[in-house]
Symmetry: C2
Subunit: 407 residues, 2 copies
């Protein structure tokens, strides 16, 4: 069944926010066997909303909209859908009761919040258990439109608890088989050349897609239809064999989860000492629920003073080699492992940019040291010129470097 | 001039990646006076690409596409644009020379990378100075299409250095006047009620949009046309007066930059001691270039052992009150300020979830302490149930709490 996602809101068209909703929705819908054909973002503009829905229904069976349901003047989705479906807004006591259950102090419900209880007359209202904007479900000529709030938390609850189960009950799907392979040590084109023969021999209804990210290539193998399971298993085995040691993981999980799983499996603990990454590695590691089982903590030593006083980096190491050097990252890793009594440590010192570069240490120069039970590996990386990207890349390379030691 | 952004790639439609490109592009185009009318994401599918471009040109003057230019089989944008414009691919020595200048070892250029030098015959080729995929610019019947790589770093360079300047030279724009106001202490509906009279008196061609984020409301006031400048200034003054003390900043910058600016201005230094935020506050603070002027460092004390041994939190404070308590965050803030000799400190301890909650300390319970020259403020927050969201919200509330003390 074909689906279009329509995100409504001026703030998206002027680039004030990044639309993370539609990736989340697309992922969940794909897993549920739906085919997301297009994602469209448009403004809070009644005629554009109507026209976009009309055009989308020429190509898909289901339209899911998010946004434009807030209590303020610029939010016009609910009214516009009334016009589109030729109905009117009516007050719903049931929705008001739901709102009263949501807000912390029902006595304080103001007029604008109360207005959220107006809903289109001819539609199915789905109660939003985590926010004040009701969800509405329209059907006409076999096509379905669901309007949801744009607040990510609310949309996610509504999709999982209500919309996807109802869509699955309404349609019968032919599921997609797919598998993700995380591969390290190859560039996109080198990997493609390595897999030329495999790709040439793939059955015509199979697909193989490449998705590069810093230090890692994601491969996605896919085919539609449960009956292709035996051939799918055969192709997965061929691909695994071809990838060999470069295959990091056969699940689409973030690097920090791969690292966490291995640490937990082996009963090891980790601490990080971060300069240019500024705590981003610790943030990634602790973004995984349950990371307290293996993560002790981190010292962000942004200043040299903290490097020497907290991490015991010899002042002479900094004076003689500079803060971005092999000697300093080795001392940082040793220091933090001692301070927090851990089996493993990661340390990073580099020049994230855009300032701070010198001719022999240009912006993007990063030293990473990883330590496992006393043994150390220190490597230098030459990254790019963009601060944010350098922080992300250094974070990934640091985790990959430790993974390599733990293999 | 009206613009449509078309993002091409199956990985977007299955939700494997979040499209951050189009928000970045929309922001830059808006500032340059262009009106982004729609953003569309579609798959690597030739007929869908052709149809989407065709439909978009009925509504807009400029189409900017990203993606589908990689060296592998699943990337078909270049070939499809040839079909759409009735032209063919020809080999360009000039592009090959550019590629040789990009890759670290030109001797190692493989066949797939060499294929990147094939470009459509009837188009303007723009050299991509930061990647191997060439940028192509097509014109037909007064309408422009530019095809760019989807790699964010490459797209950003191409847009800033080439595409926006060329579009600006090609069209004359009527610029948008707009201003962003960051407001703290209001919910969306409470702020809307506070501003009812202001909104009712706004001239009809003005707009005011609300964008909620954790702890902060963003307001955007806008009007088209340079000649509205005097009225725009008048309305900005009215709005400033109405917002009063709740007005945090009149620039669309992140909280960590507002905080950084004040610390720099006042010559103060900062350290953080983080438990449930896991280094995310330090990451945010150091994401600002130049933060080394005021940020000394951070201790992520994820385990109780690190709280006591590194931050000097009394073991009895943890035993008697639990790690998520006023006593512990006060000791953490004091400890990190002493350890790193800073004027200010932020400490956070909470239950990010999904596990670890108890009846009297449910998931989402977070204690935050901020310290400024010895004085402390400790507050308890009851956040939600989603781990990632709790980490983001605690980060924002912690920075807001320190800002409040520094006012």
């Amino acid at each position: 069944m074909k689906v279009a996602l329509i995100t409504i809101g001026d703030e998206i068209l002027i680039g004030q926010i990044v639309d993370t909703n539609s990736a989340w929705m697309a992922h969940k819908l794909t897993l549920a066997g739906f085919e997301v054909r297009e994602k469209i973002s448009i403004g809070d503009d009644a005629s554009q909303i109507r026209n976009t829905i009309d055009e989308a229904f020429k190509r898909v069976d289901v339209v899911l909209t998010t946004g434009g349901l807030g209590p303020t003047k610029d939010d016009i989705t609910k009214k516009t859908l009334c016009d589109y479906y030729g109905t009117e807004l009516v007050f719903s006591d049931e929705v008001l009761d739901n709102i009263k259950g949501i807000v912390s102090d029902p006595a304080k419900i103001n007029e604008l919040t109360r207005n959220q209880a107006f809903v289109p007359k001819d539609c199915t209202v789905i109660q939003n258990k985590v926010g004040t904007a009701p969800v509405t479900w329209f059907e006409r000529e076999g096509k379905i439109l669901v309007s949801m709030p744009g607040v990510p938390l609310e949309m996610q609850w509504v999709m999982e608890a209500e919309v996807i189960p109802r869509l699955q009950a309404h349609y019968k799907q032919e599921a997609y088989l797919f598998k993700v392979f995380l591969v390290s040590g190859y560039t996109e084109s080198a990997l493609a050349i390595h897999l030329t023969e495999f790709e040439n021999n793939l059955p015509a209804d199979f697909g193989l897609a490449y998705l590069p990210s810093p230090g890692i290539m994601k491969l996605r193998l896919f085919v539609q239809g449960e009956q292709r399971q035996p051939e799918f298993v055969r192709q997965v085995e061929l691909l695994e064999k071809k990838l060999g040691n470069a295959l990091l993981c056969e699940e689409d999980i973030p690097l920090e989860k791969i690292l966490g799983n291995i640490l937990k499996q082996k009963g090891l603990t980790l601490a990080t000492a971060e300069s240019c990454t500024g705590g981003h590695i610790a943030h990634k590691v602790t973004s995984i629920s349950g990371s307290s089982a293996y993560f002790e903590g981190c010292v962000v030593s942004y200043s040299n003073k903290v490097k020497t006083s907290v991490l015991n980096v010899p002042g002479s190491a900094i004076e003689n080699n500079g803060a971005v050097s092999e000697e300093v990252v080795r001392a940082m890793a040793k220091g933090v492992a001692q301070l927090m009594s851990t089996d493993c440590a990661i340390s990073v010192s580099g020049i994230a940019g855009p300032d701070g570069g010198t001719p022999d240490k240009p912006v993007g120069t990063v030293w990473i040291c990883t330590q496992f039970k006393g043994k150390q590996l220190a490597q230098k990386y030459q990254l790019g010129r963009i601060r944010d990207v350098n922080i992300l890349r250094a974070t990934n390379y640091a985790m990959l470097q430790l993974l390599e030691m733990l293999k």
